[in-house]
């Protein structure tokens, strides 16, 4: 068991989950009090000792499923003649409806033998095999038949309907998982857990490339952005309250000393005078930036519900204030839709025009920038070979306290083609490449720490 455990820990580390020496030892100790024949019990023990971040469970589960596979059900493969597809699907449907997991696994085993078309020796992760089996079983048709089988009494009820759909969805998901487990255990039998795990490595959520994430991954990342913004807001306000002590408060010190017989034992300080941080966000929302813009806008939206002074502006080749769409009590999806419908962001052809947008900002909204403002610009600085409007940009940044530029493009592509990053970067305090949650997180930490020179000196 210990060699399996250390291989397991190695694989976790290879995918990026930080597992310390002490934690690996804890896991080994925990195994003494774990029922090794019970897979979920083992999962609980290893999870509690090795993985300390809820976002890493996705990766942990993927690795765990490879190293400690659910055994394919023995029997049912040789003694029964391969049934035809329809009979198999009928039987599967019954098993799912009755919640008979064992029968389901057995049938899935048959389905995998028949339809996966596995070729021994190929170094694949097995996702394609799963896909093949699911296609043969025709998941869409199964969904329809399950929906029909679960017909409800009150067909008009929206709640009943939703419950029914969710139930069928989770049934299909558990079928897919059973197929995947079966395929995995066959692959592991053939090539060994370490090999299989290496070919189907799942990146950590924070390492997923935002520009190339799948729809599912985007949904997961979006869920993580909320807490991130809350953290940023908490950090900003904590620093405001506890960053430094103010001057000695003589009156309160003397008042307090009365309790100690006039001994000045407990000096009292005035709370420091601080200014609230003001945040202005300028966000490129053109086609090439669409995915990334969603994240920045969502982050802005989340911050604005925590801090009062946040103003956001969006631009393509025209610029408009969009703060009003992201109020505290609106839904983020609705806000995005209203924004694209109502704000005037396109003046000409709908291709990014940074120069024009900065000029427009300097003209119309320059009052938004005060010496207390933190300005965050997000965009790839791909200007379609148009005038850069760098003078306006310089003027804006000069008036702001701090300017950050977040560029979702890989650093090596900056200043290639129509990218004019280096024109703007001298005017920014920091230019960061942000293309994953981890980088966004690092930026948040960085932004939360005010530069020492920028901290206002108490009067």
């Amino acid at each position: 068991m210990n060699s399996t455990l250390s291989a397991f820990v190695d694989e976790l580390r290879a995918t990026g989950v930080p597992v310390s020496m002490v934690e690996a030892l804890d896991a080994a100790n925990a195994l003494q009090y774990t029922d090794l024949t019970d897979r979920e019990n083992l999962r609980a023990s290893l999870g509690a000792t090795l993985v300390k971040n809820p976002r890493h469970y996705r990766t942990f589960d993927a690795v765990f499923d490879v190293f400690f596979t659910a055994r394919a059900m023995p029997g049912g493969e040789d003694d029964v003649a391969p049934p035809d597809v329809d009979a198999l699907r009928d039987a599967l449907l019954d098993a799912i409806l009755e919640g008979d997991m064992e029968a389901m696994r057995r049938l899935v085993g048959q389905a995998v033998s028949q339809f996966a078309g596995m070729q021994p020796g190929r170094p694949v992760g097995g996702r394609y095999y799963t896909y093949r089996v699911m296609r043969q079983l025709d998941a869409d048709d199964l969904t329809l038949r399950l929906l029909a089988a679960l017909a409800v009494i009150d067909a008009d009820s929206g709640v009943e309907e939703r419950i029914r759909r969710d139930r069928v969805e989770s049934m299909i998901a558990s079928l897919r998982q059973a197929v995947d487990e079966d395929v995995t255990s066959r692959l592991v039998d053939e090539r060994g857990a370490e090999q299989v795990a290496a070919t189907r490595r799942v990146p950590l959520l924070e390492d997923i490339d935002l520009m190339h994430a799948t729809r599912l991954e985007i949904a997961e990342i979006e869920r993580a952005v909320g807490p991130l913004a809350r953290r940023l807001a908490t950090r900003l306000s904590q620093r405001r309250r506890h960053g430094r002590r103010g001057r000695l408060d003589v009156r309160r010190t003397i008042r307090h000393s009365l309790g100690h017989g006039g001994v000045l034992i407990d000096p009292q300080f005035k709370p420091p005078k601080v200014t609230k941080p003001e945040i202005v966000v300028l966000c490129d929302v053109s086609g090439s930036m669409a995915t990334f813009a969603r994240f920045t806008l969502q982050l802005t939206y989340a911050i604005s519900s925590e801090l009062s002074k946040v103003r956001s502006f969006a631009f393509i080749d025209g610029l408009d204030e969009v703060t009003r769409f992201f109020g505290t009590d609106t839904d983020f999806g609705d806000a995005l839709m209203n924004m694209s419908a109502e704000a005037s962001l396109v003046r000409r052809d709908g291709h990014s025009d940074y120069g024009r947008s900065f000029e427009e900002f300097a003209e119309k909204f320059s009052e938004a920038i005060t010496p207390r403002t933190t300005l965050i610009v997000t965009g790839d600085a791909r200007n379609n070979y148009r005038p850069t409007g760098v003078d306006s940009f310089a003027e804006i940044t000069r008036r702001a306290r701090t300017t950050f530029w977040l560029n979702p493009e890989s650093r090596s592509y900056w200043d290639t083609g129509d990218s004019v990053m280096s024109v703007y970067s001298p005017h920014c305090d920091r230019v960061e490449q942000v293309r994953s949650l981890r980088q966004l997180e690092r930026f948040v930490e960085l932004a939360a720490v005010p530069r020492s020179s920028a901290v206002p000196i108490p009067a």
């Binding site: 300390k52 709640v159 939703r162 419950i163 969710d166 953290r231 609106t330």
Partner: protein, 293 residues
């Protein structure tokens, strides 16, 4: 170590006796915490029963509960111990003219020490359950205060020496994940992520907490709440809110989860107007009657 617990199922059973329905994972982690003598860090959304896990553990083991509620600005004097200045001053004034050497040892003795929760848990004669609630509310720097207690169950007081626990306390820390806790803290703990319960477990919780609820209704409520949680909202309904919902429906004498019934009582489950609107739209509910607004 609790002698009567020989397997995680024993832990589950004794927790169930005091009304806490633990799933297999929670039971296993609590079992490990007991056997390995390590603190448990329970993290998850608000209202899924992290704090009540600690309360239930105390009740199930018959131990006293010592609770440290964390908040911004919590410091040593509030968490560990403090010298009783007033008493020390009085002592000094009462003894004017006495030798300094005598006095010094005297005023820094245990009778001038005000114990705070962490020291209290360590000094306690009988075994305790120590609950450090909402540990994510204290600043990163203050976390260091906890480390000595968490890994060796001792507190060092410069004037007195080191106080070590006579029996290993069972420690539960809870966090709502409003910030990342330090690696040092996490490393010392067993990590328990407490998500929203599964439909089956929520049904069981409802049955235990609202005994008058008909079983069919309990199942329906659990399913409906699970579906509503799947819709992205600002604040997903917690377990306590679904219990409130079940009680409301029961009190109103509603025996079937019809669209109108849900629409009229949705505000028990969701606390933001935008969430209520969104969920109503997703579930294609009729306009709420005026009772709701």
């Amino acid at each position: 170590m609790n002698e009567s617990w020989n397997a995680p199922s024993d832990v589950g059973a004794s927790l169930a006796e005091v009304g806490y329905l633990a799933d297999a994972r929670i039971a296993q982690v609590a079992f490990l915490a007991d056997r390995l003598g390590k603190p448990v860090l329970a993290e998850g959304p608000a209202g899924v029963g992290k704090t009540s896990l600690a309360l239930a553990l105390a009740e199930a083991t018959g131990r006293r509960l010592v609770r440290l509620q964390c908040y911004e600005g919590l410091d040593e004097a509030k968490a560990l111990y403090e010298w009783d200045y007033h008493k020390q001053l009085l002592r000094l004034q009462a003894d004017e003219g006495a030798e300094w050497n005598e006095l010094e040892g005297d005023i820094f003795s245990e009778s001038f020490l005000l114990t705070r929760p962490l020291l209290e848990a360590i000094r306690s004669e009988d075994p305790v359950v120590l609950l450090i609630d909402e540990v994510d509310r204290i600043e990163l720097e203050t976390e260091a205060l906890l480390l000595e207690v968490l890994d060796s169950f001792q507190v060092t007081i410069p004037e007195l020496g080191t106080v070590t626990a006579s029996s290993t306390p069972m420690v539960v820390l809870t966090s709502n994940n409003t910030r990342e806790l330090s690696e040092a803290l996490k490393r010392r703990c067993l990590y328990l992520h407490v998500p929203y319960p599964t439909i089956e477990r929520e049904r069981a919780i409802l049955a235990a907490r609202v005994p008058d609820l008909p079983e069919v209704m309990g199942r329906r409520i659990a399913e409906a709440v699970a579906s509503i949680r799947a819709i992205p909202t600002r604040k997903a309904p917690s377990v306590s809110e679904s219990i409130d919902w079940a009680r409301t429906l029961l009190a109103l004498g509603i025996a079937e989860l019809s669209d109108d019934a849900v629409s009229d009582t949705l505000h028990v489950l969701l606390k933001y107007q935008s969430d209520i609107e969104k969920v109503s739209k997703e579930l294609s509910l009729p306009e709420a009657t005026d009772a709701a607004s």
